[in-house]
Subunit: 342 residues, 4 copies
């Protein structure tokens, strides 16, 4: 049986990545693609790398007949997303890739995003989309909120450790390095090739990055007490890939064991042998997450690494993984392609 | 029915690319992987991006039992390839990715490669592997010689024009820009990141690049008279992608029409609207070739562009496309993945 | 004696490059920096790499007292430049880096730039700024029009050959590869890191690039008859550097000899030994231009290469070189720094 | 007065960088260049970007007449350096860029480098070359040991804080990101463009990087008690630049004040306004180090950033700075060039 899906916001990178992935899926058909400012254009005009595909012409959202749609991917900007989703049919299955439905507490949402939430009803029903940890809820969810790409990476590196109680919850430092596609296709000076390539820097320093809202919510929930991590993102001159270097206090072997147990049956999480560090080179374009653990020379301290592709496992791949569950498909369908290297 | 294949020389980039592609193929199973100097290692050690796959341990060639192998991909260096293939079972289907069996005339081989050919019998039976132009021969071939990646690009841009008689055969200039993975995984100073990135240059200038042997052979054969092109390759600081900018004399509209006719039914060749130029960004990691034609401001002169991924359409993708034909599979099986962008 | 200069349009790349170069000049002092939309900001805010320098705060043009200025660099966008320069004091020495005063014939200007010229009087007095070929005129000029960066590269590769009569004037093909900084600091989608890196493509194809106006003007003037070249620029994923690959018909040794003669005493032009190709890696950040000549395998055909840094020799370095002549300074003052490699 | 210098190991990146810098120095002349395996070649053959310079032909070390040399830069590999320096004239001024004379304690040297030190006498007299903190000793030193590039970056970020007693000495985490040129011109697979570009990873994890020897020595010396930091280096796909992100416990304002005081008169250290983060883009090719301080959202925790160019301030620029002091020159001579951006 073929499921018909719509992708709203198909002219951005996560939209294009969804199309790339779904092209490999035997049971999903793209029935509609929206892009308000580019309505009327073909995908080949907006993304020439999809030129060979037979795809619907880009349209406006209100031109879509959602009656024939089984599931809708919403790849719109934050804030826009809540307005749009509020107006969609109440029984339409939705995977949202924006930040709008990630935070459970409206006050937290307003604190991190600066505006009151405009779709409180939908926010309440939304399930957090980190598949490996919300699998059962996602299967029966109507609305799934995809995680932030940085937030996903940090959580893969920390959730099993908080769960297992093997690290000091007050001493967690997340030094994160992200690729530029995480910033989307927006025209900003610091995203220009001439500004970004050949160098790197931290940004959103001092605990101001919005994905901290997700870390706070999820880690505190697991721990049953407030957990606040330190988090410094860095912008790197590559197009895809996030590497989290996480400094924790705890026994490195116990940490490795906690991962081994938690991820034993996960199809997309690869735990490296003890003492090895992953590389973003080796997850590029794929839905895999590689995790490594090392013992520091100082006893009782360990370093955890997690690497994934921000556009795939960190966003559109995760979205398809969730859609598979919501549609009753095999969770890995369309997602087992190997990374592109070199 | 599942076909069992062996990949000889699996520790190089074209070997890894074959594994990546075959991983998507429903009817091919990798039964053996060889890499002489790395025998005994796992693919995960040599190529960590393939860590999630269940693959045979790397072995030496003579450890492979070819009785159970339906087809053998040979991704060995030039010269080694002819020695190895000469010793393989005479009824084993082989797709060779090296340069060893591309040239029909042993004298031409010796002229361009500097040594007498050591496997003349096999050379004689080999079929040239540019699928779109040798499809029928390949279907019944035992040994197919994959083309050079530059040679493939240039031929996609020129064969239909020579065939159709729409260009001046004595005035063809091929200015070609190639990515670094075409040079393989070899340790050479000019391939270091610090030497190669942030700049570019021509190499093998003045008509000395070995792929000229293929151009001469193929273009002269089509034309029924000697055709010699000018060919200048340039090395660019990217990992994948070849762009050929071809300067020809002829009517640009007739040229575009000749492409339209020649490639009308080709699944992997995309002809752009008249006046548009392709980009290597849009074929990356895929088996597609994008072709564009523009009219110069000087009457009677046209510029033809061809873009493809040297590791995929230029090498391992082409090899799988040929293997599909040799094994009775659908030609496009395992090869329809969309390019990776960004 | 210290010369006081103003730089108009200091918030763009060519403005910043002028500041970098002048910082090394013993006899030039930067007295004023303008940037209309960023007036009131410091250069450290706009260009943090200049943080260590003691520079004037950015101001609006009309806040500058030109009475104390010996020479004004105008690094404004095309079209704006002619309006601004028309209003500047009539005796102020000016080096313009825009395209506005490069073309002698107002009709040619309008043809290539799409609007009638608004400062015909200044256009008439302007001297074309390719120092090596207009040295004497520049010494006594009031207004010098800096060349286009592509135009400069092509002319270094062709002027001595046209002058010496050693090539066929009807068969010149300029295949040019340029870095992204040539497009300036403007917010365009195709200049984003995610769009530009890891690939390359041609643009302005078919003889539509504006620098053709300069080629036509200059080459025809030298030849004493109309000369039209073919010119295809390509955009490459690097920040600095232009490589011109020029296909000509003529004797390669005679071509090399013509360069040797023409550039024997030039401090910034380096002619490579016959048969060697230059690389943009080796001119990066410098005012040097490297030139190479190779004989093609087809008799009577040669390939000429020219490499330079578009921001330095192609723009701001050339501007300082001209300013030195106009101010009676040594032509090479402030310009002999070695390229940055790696 | 002109000082004559020799550069031993001139065919590596730090050797070439020394030549680039000295080219701008009014009072230093390069009298000899050695490169054992490339003896007899010109620098233009080994480093074409230095083609315009009039430089001595590369020779073997024993061909140099040290009688006429005022100072010798030793840019040889670790281990080789101690053997060579031991054999040089006892009164020759030397700036060593290798790791051989950085550690005061021979046992520490052997621990980190794996072999007993072969030049103990010279090791004893060597002065540690971090100019800003050993200025007086360097002025009268005969042998100065240049610091490691990572070690320099970490020390700029931490010495004033340890000195001022404003941070917890047991809770220092140094997450460091380095460019590839720090690994030199050696032929290693992981330094190939195809392996390194488009991704990043940590290396020497778990407190195993040799530069920890320098941190331990220097920080413990300042503190008057053992200080052990955590240090994780990452390899990034750029050619120049190190960014240290340092997590400390202490009052962020007091930390900023400590830097302001310590670096008030330093010509090459730029302290950014409180709350701003530096970027390696803005120090590229220069001798400057940019430092930033931010308050974390968790009270009592701060993040310190230091950015410099590993080949300049981290190695060859530092070496020239030291040579200036040793030769009685102005410390900043030849080193005030602005960074190259973009």
């Amino acid at each position: 049986m073929t499921h018909k899906v719509a992708i709203l916001g198909a002219s951005g990178y996560t939209g294009a990545e969804l199309v790339r992935l779904i092209a490999q899926h035997p049971n999903i058909e793209i029935a509609a693609l929206s892009a308000d400012r580019k309505a009327g254009m073909t995908m080949a005009e907006v993304f020439p790398h999809l030129r060979h595909m037979d795809l619907p012409v880009l349209c406006k959202i209100d031109e879509i007949d959602f009656a024939g749609i089984d599931l809708c991917f919403c790849a719109l900007p934050h804030k826009t997303s809540q307005d749009v989703i509020k107006a969609l049919p109440k029984d339409l299955k939705i995977v949202d890739l924006s930040a709008d439905f990630r935070l459970r507490d409206p006050a937290e949402y307003e604190k991190w995003y600066g505006n009151p939430h405009a779709a409180l009803e939908q926010q309440e029903e939304a399930v957090y989309g980190l598949t490996e940890f919300y699998r059962e809820e996602i299967k029966s969810a109507r609305l799934v909120a995809g995680t932030g790409c940085n937030a996903a990476t940090g959580q893969f590196a920390l959730r099993p450790l908080i769960e297992a109680g093997v690290i000091d919850l007050d001493e967690i430092i997340l030094d994160l390095k992200c690729a530029v596609s995480g910033a989307g296709r927006s025209l900003k000076e610091n995203l220009l090739h001439a500004e970004l390539s050949e160098g790197y820097n931290a940004y959103a320093i001092g605990g101001t990055h919005r994905h901290l809202g997700e870390f706070d919510q999820e880690f505190s929930k697991i721990a049953g007490r407030p957990v606040k991590v330190q988090f410094t993102p860095h912008l790197l001159p590559v197009n895809r890939g996030i590497l989290a270097t996480v400094y924790v206090k705890g026994d490195a072997q116990a940490i490795h064991a906690a991962f081994a147990k938690a991820y034993a049956d996960e199809p997309f999480i690869e735990l490296l042998p003890f003492g090895e560090a992953p590389s973003t080179h080796h997850v590029r374009g794929s839905n895999f997450c590689h995790i490594g653990v090392a013992q520091d020379r100082i006893a009782g301290r360990a370093i955890v690494f997690a690497a994934l592709d921000n556009l795939t496992k960190g966003s559109s791949g995760q979205a398809l993984q969730n859609a598979n569950l919501m549609l009753g498909e095999n969770e890995t369908e369309g997602l087992m392609m190997a990374p592109l290297f070199p």
